[in-house]
């Protein structure tokens, strides 16, 4: 993960994920403004639809990748001691992966 998305690929991926997040945000905002689900059951209904669940997972994968590239850039810029850099990158990766696992658990529970 560290070596495969750097340089041009990392830069491009950061922009593509930003674009996807923006589109998701716009579409979701419009939907919730128009449909405005009133209670938990309605909210549950929206997110248990497979396309919405899939797009939501993709959205959070985009957040994960975007955050990883951005945070890694900050660490590369400011943290020069190798041991500290590896520690920080490890912690960031753990937190981000933990969040994606949590999200997958929530979404699969909603869909199944």
């Amino acid at each position: 993960m560290i070596t495969s998305i750097q340089g041009m690929r990392g830069w491009l991926l950061q922009r593509l994920t930003a674009l996807f997040m923006l589109l998701y945000f716009i579409v979701a905002s419009i939907y919730f403004l128009l449909a405005s689900p009133q209670n938990y059951v309605e909210w549950y209904g929206v997110f248990s639809a497979t396309p919405v669940a899939l797009l939501t997972v993709l959205f959070f994968v985009a957040v994960l990748l975007h955050a990883w590239i951005g945070l890694r850039d900050i660490v590369i810029d400011y943290v020069h001691r190798l041991s500290l850099r590896l520690l920080l990158l490890g912690l960031i990766a753990m937190v981000l992966l933990g969040q994606i696992v949590w999200l997958l658990l929530v979404v699969t529970k909603a869909v199944l």
């Binding site: 750097q6 340089g7 830069w11 810029d77």
Partner: protein
Amino acid sequence: MEVRIYRYNPETDHSPYMQSYQVESVADGTMLLDVLKSIKAQDETLSFRYSCGEGVCGSDAVNVNGRNLLTCITSVNDLKHPIEIRPVTGMPVIRDLVVDMSQFYHHYRSVDPYLMVHDPVPEDEFLQSPEQRDKLDGLYECIMCGCCTTACPSFWWNPERFRGPAALLQAYRFVADSRDQGTATRLKALDGPYRLFRCHTIMNCVDACPKGLNPTHAIAELKKKMLKDSI
């Protein structure tokens, strides 16, 4: 007029300090370089670089009141007083306002700042259309003063590995040149996390360039070219 100057002689000083000088009867519109010369007449231990005195050679870049500029083309009228002069940031100080530019030149050399031609060289001359020549405007005028690179935070954090705006402007100057055939080699050499992609579009380089050039635009063009060529 009060001028405060960064002083440091590694042979005699334990640490750098600021020294204050009073300069009398400075005429309106006097350039800062002339003020520095008159201070040098008062105190010959003061060291600074200069050569052409008209913004062409790029020797006299310093940091004045927090901004990088060339002393020879900066009028004292345009500066806040007292004037504070320091060496440009992010390079080792040799003495007073003189810095070691080795790292800067290393990055410049590493982008191969010359035409790469694989085909047989024409007998008499390379031909370029006026449109092709126009693409070099805003790129070839760099005087290598280092104002941009030493104003760049990305260069401050990774001076050994990030090429810096001046070298990247030169890299694009040859990528944009219709006569050059080394684009693929140049772009390949710039990929990776450090050499080009440490630039986060902070744009201090654009703000600092005394020739009004735009290294950020050149860097963006390099990225665009790299993207197009990789698809």
